[in-house]
Amino acid sequence: MNQGRRGFIRFGGQLIGAAALGGAGWRVFADSDSEAEFTQPKGPYVWRINPDKCTFCGLCETACVRKPSAVKAVNDQKKCSYCVACYGHLADLHVSSDNIQSKGVRVCPYDAVIRKQHSGGKDGYHLYTIDDAKCTACGKCAKRCNKLGTKSMFLILRPDLCLGCNRCAIAVVCPENAVERAHSYPEDDFRGFYELETGAQP
């Protein structure tokens, strides 16, 4: 084989290779602000649960490669009704407000829903938050809240706990395809309660 021709072909290949590397790098790292159609705020891409699709089936609890799951339940305080007895907190609401703390049967098997009095005495407003150290993402509280209550509780996939697997084990099993890759947003306003105020699309 002609040595010179071989070298020439190799040089051509090197040019093509360098161009491919440079082109790919430019395409990926160049600032894409010029594309006006893309209006979403820039943020890291993360796995997240689309609450419009989520049915709180509880598969997130076991499917995640992390144990306990990277999914946690949260309560959106902007939507919560601050009830005396909470559907996400108690399995049976027919308890007098004095006995809720002591005798109320909890929905959460790990007692992760925290009830705290805010104002108005024992029949006034109460705050409900979820202890993320206890929560295992079974979704029982969120399911009841969404079925019977004010739909303020939902499940989030916490980016700080998520490993960011390429092939998310939750996305694989999710029956509603609710786990999707999207920009990172403040977790609790993903349901778009602020849409009414600011007009921002989540």
Binding site: R10, G13, Q14, I16, G17, A18, L21, A24, G25, R27, V28, F29, A30, S32, F38, K42, P44, Y45, V65, R66, K67, P68, A70, D76, Q77, K78, S81, C83, A85, L93, H94, H118, S119, G120, D123, Y125, L127, D132, A133, L148, G149, T150, R158, P159, D160, L161, C162, L163, G164, C165, N166, R167, A169, R181, S184, Y185, P186, E187, D188, D189
Partner: protein
């Protein structure tokens, strides 16, 4: 008596209906759910609601991304120096060990350059969907291959390091024809991966990777240790990663790896195709000095990836840059110092 009995039966049925109704449909609560007007008219709770801000959780700090890139660059650089100086293969182990420890255990094995093939395909179409770390993870080993060949395979790949760790000692050569046919598989995987990634269907390489179970497992144990000493939010149990199938596939892959050197790298890995292509046009390629070569064939026997072949016509040995993973076994064993 009969009438009384009937009455009791009817009553019981009525009660049962009532009980059943109570069981299925939740009876309305004995308190009033505050309406939105109630809440906004009550000053205390309204101001609480107004001031409450949702908490934002951030994926991970940029320091980790910088550390990943620095680590990969350092390993590739060290590997490059060792390949350049023809360091014996026995001195290579710190590099794959570091890779296994850092990318495998500390970082959980994901994202790795092999899986990033799918991410990069998506990134080429939608640049906003790929992060800096993923892009660099994909491009850096290719740049290294463009300079010196597949240094990444021997030094920087957590999957390769895992396969080197378990098995490879008693690897067998595969006859030429099946080997050629099997070497075509990565091309198919590459095409399917890019195709499915563009369709948005799945990350096909990650589906095929049997070793990630082990990485997640190691990562889980590390997190557990951290939790035991420092505490923290996620306290992993003994990580039951994946299911029995995943573990069975991992075991099968490891068992195969005892007799076949790096089965995943040679017959599955689509990233190896890209690395191999860049190695073919690399600036410095491994080659055999024909003036030195005495055609003893020791390098051909030693080469674990069957990259060294004898030309049937000229009887000369040659190295396939596409297959060579720069492990330096041949240059260690050559008595004539004939491998440049």
């Amino acid at each position: 008596m009969k009438r009384l009995f009937l009455l009791v039966v009817v009553l019981v049925f009525a009660c049962m209906q009532w009980l059943a109704a109570a069981g299925t449909a939740e009876a309305p609560p004995c308190f009033k759910i505050p309406s939105q007007e109630d809440i906004s008219s009550n000053e205390g709770i309204a101001s609480y609601r107004e001031q409450w801000r949702p908490r934002q959780y951030f994926p991970e700090s940029d320091h980790w991304i910088a550390a990943d890139i620095a680590m990969l660059a350092a390993i590739l650089l060290a590997g490059g120096v060792m390949v350049w100086r023809h360091a014996p293969f026995s001195r290579f182990w710190p590099l794959p060990a570091t890779t296994l420890l850092y990318f495998g255990v500390i970082r959980g094995g994901c994202i790795c350059p092999v899986g990033s093939v799918a991410n990069m395909t998506i990134g080429l179409r939608h640049p906003e969907m790929i992060g800096v770390s993923t892009g660099v993870m994909f491009l850096l080993p290719l740049v290294a291959a463009f300079v010196m060949g597949r240094i990444f395979c021997v030094a920087g790949c957590p999957l390769g390091a895992f396969q080197d760790l378990l098995g490879g000692g008693r690897a067998r050569r595969i006859p030429a024809l099946p080997h050629t046919l099997l070497s075509g598989l990565p091309w198919i995987v590459l095409v399917v991966t890019t195709w499915l990634a563009l369709r948005g269907a799945c990350y096909f390489v990650c589906l095929l990777d049997p070793y990630k179970t082990a990485f997640f497992w190691g990562y889980g144990w590390l997190q557990r240790l951290i939790h035991m000493t420092h505490g923290g939010l996620v306290e992993p149990g003994i990580l039951r990663v994946g299911d029995l199938t995943a573990w069975a596939i991992l075991l099968a892959a490891v068992a195969l790896g005892i007799r076949v050197y790096r089965p995943f790298c040679r017959f599955v890995c689509p990233y190896g195709v890209l690395l191999g292509m860049f190695s073919m046009i690399a600036i410095k390629r491994r080659h055999i000095e024909q003036s030195q070569c005495v055609k003893c064939g020791r390098c051909e026997k030693q080469c674990p990836v069957q990259a060294i072949m004898r030309d049937a016509q000229t009887n000369e040995y040659g190295i396939s840059s596409y297959r060579c993973i720069q492990c330096n076994r041949c240059s260690s064993i050559c008595r004539k110092d004939g491998i440049g």
